[in-house]
Symmetry: C2
Subunit: 264 residues, 2 copies
DNA sequence: CGTGCCGTTGAACTTGCTCAAATCAGGTGG
DNA sequence: CCACCTGATTTGAGCAAGTTCAACGGCACG
């Protein structure tokens, strides 16, 4: 397996912190049973209350914003899912993010003054748009808005880093498994059923996202099915069932250790 | 070459925007010849003026903060360089960032309430620390501080995405070249000489950062030297000279195209 | 009913990894 | 100042994961 080997750095005392949990500065909404779903609903309603929103219905394939256009607005997903595609100067491009209800879009525009990525809906959904300067003005009266913004930006940074880590330390099959695990986790956080996933991307898109070929994605899914970690439903090979989320995690763990990617 | 192949997405009209340029919302400092260096000096002095800073001298290897400790402070590099190491729950860890003067540290703590990474100095330098809540309080009086924060967070997001793109679309040799190019660019932005680079990381650390083995890093550097794109100085193989930055870019371009990673 | 796209699977090939040995730089103690 | 030791780096040879190329089946759409 093509994994980076241990390097005798000084930062290696294997640390026991959970990386996946989505606990934030926010206390769970009083009276909400699920921290994740409550948090997201709460923050969406906060926005709705204090900002003039441009609500837009999108269909699969619709662009929410395009790389290169001037930045003025941020967006929040009220429903549906979105992929973010990064494009380099020489035309190489890559899916760099996959976002769901409550996630924000367009942060990369703040620094550069124009969007650096293209965001595209993967299914029917509703996207809320609002101007960055309006948000800042509203935040003067409602500081909670600022905390929300910072938390979401921080989350985006963490997501990017975790993606990098997966990409560098996991073999293909485990990367696909991790992809499914994260997707299921995102659904669970939002209070949706997470025992099945409707892939809204082609094998080619998934492969592009995970840094592998479409054939590798296909093979990885087949091998996950053979291992009994996932099942395909009778109809269509884009609807994936996950009988036991723990089995997915175990699979990833096993693959990671097999490669010696554990480090230190 | 193991590169992701084209996928017939709908987002592919190859876009001509430069990805590397560091132009921001900030207008170049009036009277400063170099936008980058001016911007950084300006934003450092803005912080010094409006915030009580904890200044700390660090030596190579010193930790600025450790993954898992509670988040209260953000940090800014006043001088020196820093690496950021991400650690997963199962012990896999990876260098996910390399930062220089003017860069901020610790954003990942905002969402989770504790730092998710460890930051470690690569050389002697001075790090400024200040509490996040103090920053927010000061921002009420000085909104420029907020813009600064957002710009830096945005920049961190963009950097992460670009790293992902390199990792997925470039073969090893080009990845090393791109690494050097970015380092040189960072130096240039800060008004420092960018015709030579003192690597402050071992081959193993570089490999970990770039998702390859230390042997691959070594071979890539040797091949860059053979191609005349870089030179080693007589003393030590950690001081690298870059006679012609353009040649580096050309090398990357050529390698990228050779793999068909161009897409579209 | 043909055309096109998506997905799967097989076989051969290539890149980058693993293992191993030799070299080199830096620091330590005599 | 030199011998020595340790860790970093380079380089080679063989191997394997994942890619490339290619063929086939299924489903949707005109």
């Amino acid at each position: 397996m093509y994994k980076t080997q241990p390097y005798g750095g000084r930062t290696d005392p294997a640390l026991p912190w959970l990386n996946g949990a989505a606990v934030g500065l926010h206390q769970p909404a009083p009276g909400s049973s699920n921290g994740g779903a409550g948090r997201i609903a709460q923050s969406l309603s906060l926005l709705a209350q204090h900002l003039p929103l441009r609500r837009r219905l999108v269909h699969a394939g619709d662009a929410i914003f395009e790389a290169g256009t001037p930045f003025h607005q941020l967006y929040v997903i009220n429903s549906g899912s979105v992929k973010v595609v990064n494009t380099a100067a020489d035309g190489r491009n890559q899916v760099v993010g996959l976002l769901f209800k409550g996630d924000w879009l367009g942060f990369d525009g703040i620094a550069k003054g124009h969007y650096g990525c293209t965001a595209q809906a993967l299914e029917i959904g509703e996207i809320w748009g609002f101007r960055y300067d309006t948000l800042m003005a509203a935040a003067a009266a409602q500081p909670q808005l600022l905390l929300e913004l910072h938390t979401e930006m921080s989350r985006a940074i963490v997501r990017g880093r975790d993606a990098l880590l997966s990409l560098c330390t996991l073999p293909v099959a485990a990367r696909v498994a991790e992809f499914l695990r994260q997707w299921a986790e995102s659904l669970a956080t939002r209070g949706l059923r997470n025992d099945q996933i409707t892939l809204r991307m082609s094998r080619a898109e998934i492969g592009n996202y995970l840094g592998m070929t479409l054939e590798s994605v296909s093979r990885a899914l087949s091998s996950l099915e053979r291992a009994g970690v996932i099942c395909f439903t009778e109809k269509g090979r884009r609807l994936i069932q996950i009988p036991d989320p723990q089995a997915l995690s175990d699979f990833i763990q096993a693959e990671a250790q097999a490669t010696g990617a554990t480090l230190q």
